[in-house]
């Protein structure tokens, strides 16, 4: 495996984990502030544990028992779906057709919802445990983390670097966790939209590469094709954003859209 593709792998996993964990942190902090820190932190820790077990339970058998070419086509397709969706959103956001992701707005919305629920008489247990706070924190970390798990398993399994991919994800979780503990609030200063664009570009590059490689296409330069594909998607991103900005300008107020997909 070439150094440049290993670097792209680490950056893709670290970036994806960083933005997803920043989003999860917003929900954990909202749950902690409105329902109590103990339950929120326990919920977050339980979700991280379940996600770790998922990586081991799904990733290790995939590497050992699935034929490598079939594995590469499947993970390539998965990475392509994730990457194209992330890029699509990035282009719509940069061109003003979709509202930028806003952690402050999400935090305020979640705190308001949880406080209303608390006022309505949702009870805490005698030991200070709050099932709602636990559930919100667990769900936030688990749902945001599932995408990270898929990316770790896909990139790690396709390149036989599951350990390295998991390490990059853990590093991002630790960084966000430490910063979150220090500042005790959501991290709205993290340039999430920019990082998401970069990760979308890297996932699309790996996706196209592994689909082609698994199907039997011989990439010129082998692994060196990955940085070339990164360059290609960078050009596509800037071209499409410029196209939408100039030829198809956005309405005065950007479209605010809820998304269930990555």
């Amino acid at each position: 495996m070439h150094t440049s593709s290993t670097l792209v792998l680490v950056l893709a996993v670290f970036g994806a984990s960083l933005v997803e964990m920043v989003e999860a942190l917003t929900l954990v902090v909202a749950a902690g502030v409105s329902r109590g820190w103990r339950s929120a932190l326990e919920g977050a820790a339980a979700a991280v544990l379940v996600l770790g077990v998922l990586v081991l339970a799904v990733g290790v058998p995939l590497i050992h028992y699935m034929p490598i070419d079939a594995l590469r086509v499947v993970v390539g397709a998965l990475l392509l779906v994730l990457g194209l969706n992330w890029l699509r959103k990035a282009i719509l956001r940069s061109s003003g057709h979709k509202a930028m992701h806003d952690e402050d707005a999400i935090y305020a919305e979640t705190v308001a919802e949880l406080s209303e629920d608390s006022d309505a008489g949702s009870e805490h247990t005698s030991k200070g445990r709050d099932p709602v706070g636990f559930a919100v924190a667990f769900k936030g970390v688990f749902l945001e983390g599932t995408e990270v798990v898929l990316i770790v398993i896909s990139l790690g399994a396709a390149q036989n670097r599951l350990g390295l991919a998991a390490l990059a994800a853990v590093a991002a979780v630790v960084v966000v966790g430490i910063v979150g503990i220090i500042v005790s609030r959501q991290l709205s200063e993290v340039p999430e939209n920019t990082i998401k664009t970069a990760v979308g570009i890297m996932l699309s590059s790996f996706g196209v590469f592994w689909v082609g490689e698994g199907a039997g296409i011989h990439w010129p330069g082998s692994d060196l094709a990955i940085p070339v594909l990164v360059g290609f998607w960078l050009v596509v991103y800037f071209s499409y954003t410029a196209l939408l900005r100039t030829l198809l300008p956005a309405p005065a107020k950007p479209v605010i859209e809820e998304a269930s997909t990555p």
């Binding site: 397709a77 196209v208 689909v211 939408l244 605010i256 859209e257 997909t261």
Partner: protein
């Protein structure tokens, strides 16, 4: 026990559907098409290496233009 497993399976199915298909089924379809074309180009070098990224970029443009026309909905989360 069986009911719990069935509930978990339904949840997993719904989660995967939302996760992979969600509100952009065209991206999943495009990916399926790219996989099929990749197999048709198996054994090639430059042709596949040039055509595959171009196809993906074409599908991305179509999906982005479709996303531009969508009606607004509820929340600022993503």
């Amino acid at each position: 026990m069986t009911a719990a497993i069935a509930r978990a399976a339904r949840w997993l199915g719904r989660f995967l559907w939302d996760f992979i298909i969600g509100d952009t089924p065209e991206v999943a379809l495009a990916t399926g098409a790219i996989v099929a074309i990749a197999f048709l180009l198996a054994g090639s070098e430059w042709l596949g290496a040039i055509l595959l990224p171009l196809l993906a970029a074409g599908f991305l443009l179509a999906s982005t233009l479709r996303g531009r026309k969508r009606a607004p909905s509820r929340s600022a989360r993503s």
